[in-house]
Symmetry: none
DNA sequence: AATGAATGAGTTTTCATTCAT
DNA sequence: GATGAATGAAAACTCATTCAT
């Protein structure tokens, strides 16, 4: 059966609508990728419609094609932006004599993780990668390599040193550095799955995470 | 592994053929509704194929969806157009002193009806409404309100006045103005059922209709 | 987006349900045609689904095929039943000397019409024929021949006689007997279009119809 | 004339090919959902074609619609099946006097988790949920409630008791029971992201997980 | 006779992509 | 650079009809 309101039946004989502002390409690209992050992360690659992205970016579908040749290309560019540069600030080198304490680990490893958790766009990115990363298999590996491995390698080095220095106790964690991230990853998944985590919930996760590390690693 | 082979992801990976002329939306909408009237009234709502409508409108099936969200919506818009504006030209007001004679009634009420009967597209519209109107619940009521009630209200006023002026005799018709339309409606139904009425058949219906009114209303 | 209630998601793993009573074929056929009248008249031939008819008839879709070979065949059988026997009770012959008065015309012609209008299934049948009759072109003619022509022929004869006898006045109606039906047809269309007419509305239509005939035909 | 050529009216005027085996609805529904799990988790909701599901389930596309009204409905039913009943076997009650040791926790909590990790269909389900869960709004919450909360509530009770009994040490974990799952969840995510985890990798994750718990909870 | 699962051809609908303006 | 009408191929969905049970 049809829409009840006959008077609402005729289609939008849309007046052209003021052509939107012509912007520098770089700006548009950024807007489009921002929009794409939203839409891809919400619906996944296949369900995302160019119209959705265009609307979220504030231009028309055709306008998007001025900047990208295809949906795939948008996705690719987005992945590149997510994976590559800004996110994982290279950890600054450590002074040779500085002792590796739990506090140091917390500052260098734990705090940044929970920092990220507070940023919705990080959760969005993670969701995007979890849900669509397999579309570009290398993306995953690369993500892993860029996001985690350096981190973990760094952690591993720190743990070794702490143990050698006697400032850290030997523990399951010193044998498997990745474990140091587990509660944070747990919290992240929680955020991805159940929506952004409230700031005080984040603080609580972190507090417990730190407490646990202290128990495990304090000599 | 998840697969999600990129090459299998999105539809439409083909070069479109030569697009037909691009028209302003309002024009296309009109064309589509014109086509829809033909097709719907020829085959009925359910048997009408979007392809037919598209072809009759001179664009592709997909192109129709640029202007209407569904077949139902086309139908609704068509009914709206049929029912609403252009048909019932508001009867021009009557000079205060002009006497309401049978001749006046004939000119204002009877002739326009038989005029319509000669127009195939009117019969088409009526047929469409009769055959498919139940699909849009209020269509009938609205049709009635737009097509008949103003007419009848006008007639009622005229009859009152004529009786008051003594230029019309009191009659069953002056008590139930709708009766003044009955032979015309009879003729219309005949046209709907048995195909367009030949011009001289129409003339004959009208002649008799007028004769009958004269018998009933001449003082 | 999906149905909100996950718990309601699984499809009806319908237990076979008690096989419905096995009935004599003739009974079933009647039930099916009754159901078909409802459904065809409501939705039109093309939009009517076998499932609808089956459900309205109280058996399964497959069951319908036990009695009819196709949807078309159901429609055909229904038309036959509508057109053929029961409806137009042959008007009993008139005693040679009986004078043809307006009262006689009312009893023989007008009253039966308004009788029918009170019967919803008659309106249904009319709607069915109006909406779908063109599907079987002969149906229309046949309907016309069966339903109206004998009637009108009868009326024509009566009118002639009345005029000859001096019991009826010469009038537009005596020249075009079909006009005698016009207000009734008008009322019928009203019923078809706007739903069954209330009993007192019918009475009112009839009263006015009779009054009009009296004005026209009383010598 | 109205046309409505009978021969152009209804679809499907063809002799169907040999129907495949006819099965009880419940069986088919299971098969279809099994197929859907494969296809959806392989391609994601939007890229999964009904044809794929039908083929994988061993019937025709139309056949699928005998059991489900839409692709969405299949997806909903699948999620329901994944989320709801069979997975979380209710933990058997604990004898009143039995002491809650780390070993007990390992048997009741840790081992089952890693058991699941070895099961590809569990990873498949998790991946499906992560990638497409937003499509069914409550899916995530419900998943959480069904999968984790009972587990965690159970763990919380056990930890309380162990602490009271003196068989477990107070620790960050005894304050936040969910932490007991963290390394397992980390491993699961790893499996989801990088493909099924090799059995000995699982064993290694578990070994370390247990070691960590021992460090934290042994009095 | 009746049921309801299954088929398959037809039809509607979607949407990435193109291109005249 | 931007718009939005138009295309066309793919995918979802419908339903008369068949037939094993």
């Amino acid at each position: 059966m049809i829409n009840n309101d006959i008077s609402a039946a005729s289609p939008g004989v849309s007046e052209p609508g003021p052509p939107r502002r012509r912007l520098p390409a770089a700006t548009r690209v950024t807007q489009i990728l921002d929009a794409a992050l939203q839409v891809f992360s919400d619906k996944g690659f296949a369900s995302a419609r160019l119209d959705d992205i265009a609307e979220a970016a504030g231009l028309s579908k055709g306008g998007v094609y001025t900047h990208f040749a295809s949906k795939e290309e948008i996705f690719g560019a987005l992945l590149k932006r997510l994976i590559q540069p800004p996110m994982p600030a290279a950890p600054e080198a450590l002074a040779d004599e500085e002792p590796v304490t739990v506090d140091l680990l917390v500052r260098r490893v734990v705090e940044p993780m929970y920092q990220s958790l507070g940023d919705p766009s990080v959760l969005q990115a993670v969701r995007l990668l979890l849900a669509n990363g397999t579309r570009v298999p290398q993306a995953f590996d690369q993500w892993h390599q860029t996001m985690f491995e350096p981190h973990i390698a760094d952690v591993a080095r720190l743990l070794q040193r702490g143990v050698r220095q006697g400032t850290l106790r030997r523990s399951a964690i010193t044998h498997a550095p990745r474990l140091i991230l587990s509660p944070g990853i747990h919290a992240m998944l929680d955020g991805v799955v159940r929506g952004p985590v409230a700031p005080d919930a984040i603080a609580e996760w972190k507090r417990l995470h730190v407490a646990m590390l202290r128990e495990l690693l304090t000599p």
